[in-house]
Symmetry: C2
Subunit: 361 residues, 2 copies
């Protein structure tokens, strides 16, 4: 026996019980069900516990009760600012509600996602799974074993929070149309991404409605390089504006355009999505706010609420709206695009009928 406990002087429930002259059960109850005891008893136990610096051992509690007091957050890529922001919101909320957070980075692979969900299962009371890359079947298997809230994937029967950017993308396409752009491009992300599919659809529909020519390009992994590499194709097809699946790709596009001597928004207009690095680029990106932090927070609330009560409202939609900054402007005059150097001082057209009034910066 006597495997050494790592923290040797940490008092246990037995020590407190002995010191206070009560049983271990009473000490336990003083903390978990004080209403069952005499106030005087509770006070005495608490006093002794305080003096000894006793803190219940969470691992033992977890084993005994089956409640770990932990949740896990599984994301495809920590370094992607969208997920960083989401994690930040989620972790803070979990902490506020007394839960500690495990972190899993799946490196955008299904295998790791599956493995992590399996490995962490015992240690947590539930999962927040952001933008899963895995197929639906496996997700359902995991959801059956442990409470699980999904972010940005629409799975019937599983509690989920969805950031609806369709309205935002429609607004963006309308903005570009109002600005006189006739050919626009959409630079997309992974096929398996629900967000991407949703955005594609919104852009296609609105472009059709406004009679715009739309060119679709797909980036396998949504990265800066992917954006930069897409520029050539975008320009070749004659587009004068592009919408990107996220801000990172949009920033990549911006760099690629700058490399070719094109300036934004004078020569080309750009719209991102997420609003997470959008304010820090130059020029600041017009983008659809994905309310990442709120999504993370909501997912955690949903999960934790669902642990005590019955599973909560299943489909929670957060609507992201367009935030207009400086990367969008009037279409350049035809065939005068290159080396056109007027700072585009013209005001945005009055697009109010088709636009929200939210015009930051």
């Amino acid at each position: 026996m006597a495997r050494r406990q790592a923290d040797p002087d940490r008092p246990t429930i037995s020590r407190v019980a002995a010191e206070a002259g009560v049983s271990r059960a009473t000490v336990s109850r003083s903390f978990t069900h004080p209403d069952l005891l005499l106030p005087a008893t509770v006070a005495k136990v608490r006093e002794v516990a305080e003096r000894l610096g006793y803190v219940p051992n969470q691992v033992a509690q977890a084993l005994s009760t089956g409640k770990a007091g932990n949740i896990a957050l599984i994301v495809p890529d920590i370094a992607n600012p969208f997920f960083s922001a989401l994690m930040r919101g989620a972790q803070a909320q979990a902490y506020r509600r007394g839960y500690a957070t495990f972190l899993g980075d799946t490196d955008e692979t299904e295998e790791l996602e599956d493995l992590l969900l399996g490995k962490l299962a015992v240690q947590v009371d539930g999962f927040v799974l952001a933008s899963p890359r895995q197929d639906e079947k496996r997700i359902r298997v995991h959801a059956a074993r442990r409470p699980l809230v999904v972010i940005n994937r629409d799975l019937e029967g599983i509690p989920r929070v969805l950031v609806d950017t369709t309205v935002g993308f429609a607004q963006a396409v309308n903005l570009l149309a109002d600005y006189g752009h006739r050919t626009i491009a959409y630079v997309g992300g992974p096929k398996s991404s629900w967000s991407n599919q949703q955005r594609v659809r919104a852009v296609e529909e609105t472009a059709a409605a406004r009679g715009l020519k739309l060119v679709r390009l797909d980036a396998v992994r949504p990265s800066h390089e992917a954006g930069r590499d897409a520029v050539e194709k975008v320009l070749r097809c004659g587009a004068t504006a592009a919408l990107a699946v996220d801000d990172v790709v949009a920033q990549g596009l911006m760099a690629g355009l700058a490399d070719r001597g094109l300036s934004v928004p004078a020569d080309f207009s750009l719209v991102g999505c997420d609003n997470v690095i959008a304010a820090t680029t130059y020029p600041p990106l017009t983008t659809i706010d994905a309310l990442c932090a709120e999504a993370g927070r909501t997912a955690v609330d949903l999960l934790i609420d669902g642990l005590s009560a019955e599973p909560p409202s299943e489909r929670n939609v957060i609507r992201g709206e367009l935030t207009i900054r400086a990367s969008t402007g009037p279409a350049p005059e035809r065939h005068a695009a290159k080396k056109h150097r007027s700072p585009a001082k013209s005001e945005p057209p009055d697009v109010s009928p088709s636009l929200p009034n939210r015009t930051e910066r």
Copy 2:
């Protein structure tokens, strides 16, 4: 009794033992000390376990052995790309070595840092504490209770990994001097940040050695806004180049300069630090590579190695070197700074001779 276990059909060691016709002890040993058993027995148990889908319950193991199989990663701000990158490296390495990772975001406050270290202590075998904001005393208290590896703070007696950017900053100052800049600015970060202190010193020394005038500005929190806001002061003091405590601040400076119609590097040169968003700005930032992922990985290795063997090498220095990109160039001609529009195609001067060799501490 019968507090309900959350995962009802998960087989336990007893079920496996019964099914295999052996005792629980034997099942346990089949996994932890197979050398003590007959190969045939091990094979049989393994087979049954496999069939039942048995996986040892990590919580029970933790309680019994005192080894949790978890580590915690405490950072001041998840959303800061430097820490994102670091976490990515750390988490991946922990996973590779069979450890799960807790995540703590301290929101740049000492209090949360202290609280998180306390709360998580039972659940983890050790901590990686990145860029602590807390005072040394408290850190030592925590280090005494649990193995702890610090990143970017030089605390005698505590295993630590330090990203030494002094050489890189010296190289950067020399580069600027060679380019003909006479007045340069350093835009710093939090006082409590070891990295910042170290960088200040390197810049001061090298600037003095090269006879440059140096202006120091401090940003309380290293953010984009802080960088942007610093531009006015920087310009007012006549600097033609600036070094920033990190890439985020540098990017903020870039935006502020652009707002004033100044272009980089033609009118002003800029150097960042970390090399984490540096390649994605436009123009790409000259920066000092802080090898974030490597730092995270090293810290985790140090920590885990230290759990079995005796505490490892204490002071581990990773040297970050200058990465020259496009944000640095020749100093503009005097009083001709504004609206100067030559793309500065000149090659960087050869900076090697004036570089210091190893300026540690």
